[in-house]
Symmetry: C2
């Protein structure tokens, strides 16, 4: 083996491959204080240990589940103090669950309206297009006001 890295340590690239988090994103997490700044090699490169790798996996998974950075910050703090009550972690997860349920409901309504649009489309010209028509006339639809998806749009 031709490792320059100290034993049991990983480069940022290895950490990225292992966690599925991109290199610039790892650096970003460090910048915002989500991941501690790791020691550096002589050449000035970041050198991650097993604990960092676990933390990164935790963050990745939490982001996949849609937790916001601030929520993850709180969850990580909780993880660091295992004697505390887990009520806070529970609350964060519950909030997220409620939000996900709300978004599913709202997306399901959108789906119905989009289906009406594409099914009603007669594939003729624009003047008779159901897609354009429904968009133009809000009164035509069952869909009530209020942002469809909290962030505005389903990105």
């Amino acid at each position: 083996m031709s490792r320059t890295e100290p034993a049991g340590m990983f480069t940022i690239g290895e950490a990225a491959r292992a966690s599925g988090v991109k290199v610039p994103t790892i650096r970003y997490y460090e910048e915002i204080g989500l991941l501690p700044a790791p020691p550096r090699t002589e050449g000035g490169r970041r050198s991650y240990g097993a604990a960092d790798m676990r933390r990164l996996a935790f963050i990745r998974h939490a982001r996949e589940l849609g937790f916001e950075i601030e929520a993850i910050r709180t969850l990580l703090q909780l993880q660091d103090q295992p004697d505390q009550s887990c009520a806070a972690a529970d609350a964060i997860a519950r909030d997220r669950l409620i939000e996900v349920e709300r978004r599913i409901a709202s997306l399901t309504a959108l789906k119905a309206e989009l289906q009406r649009m594409v099914e009603g489309c007669s594939h003729g010209h624009v003047a008779a297009c159901r897609v354009i028509e429904i968009l133009a006339d809000h009164g035509e639809c069952r869909h009530h006001h209020g942002p469809a998806e909290p962030g505005g749009l389903g990105r």
Copy 2:
């Protein structure tokens, strides 16, 4: 009636109230060329006509349905040329429908995982907390890799 506005014209505030789009957002739509720059009153205020009001309602509704600004731009161009085939509009709506369906599927998977988290929580201390545990150990879950929600997070 004590209108200073030309007959049949509306202030930006009226346009905002009628459409449900906020005043700064209307100005933003003008800036990015989604809404044409309206004529101004002597005092330099924007003065919207009925066509603008319709266009704004169209945009609002399309945004509610989660169409991206660029997609709306295309839809508006189509609307302006009613003799063209509506195939493009149809394709945009279909794409959006597929995306919404994908997001519902992915959010449903998230929901299941979040439910396992909160249901498994024994309300004790963090060391034994299912929420923290599942987040820490990705192998514990049925949830496979890849960003859960396209934009990363369910805002």
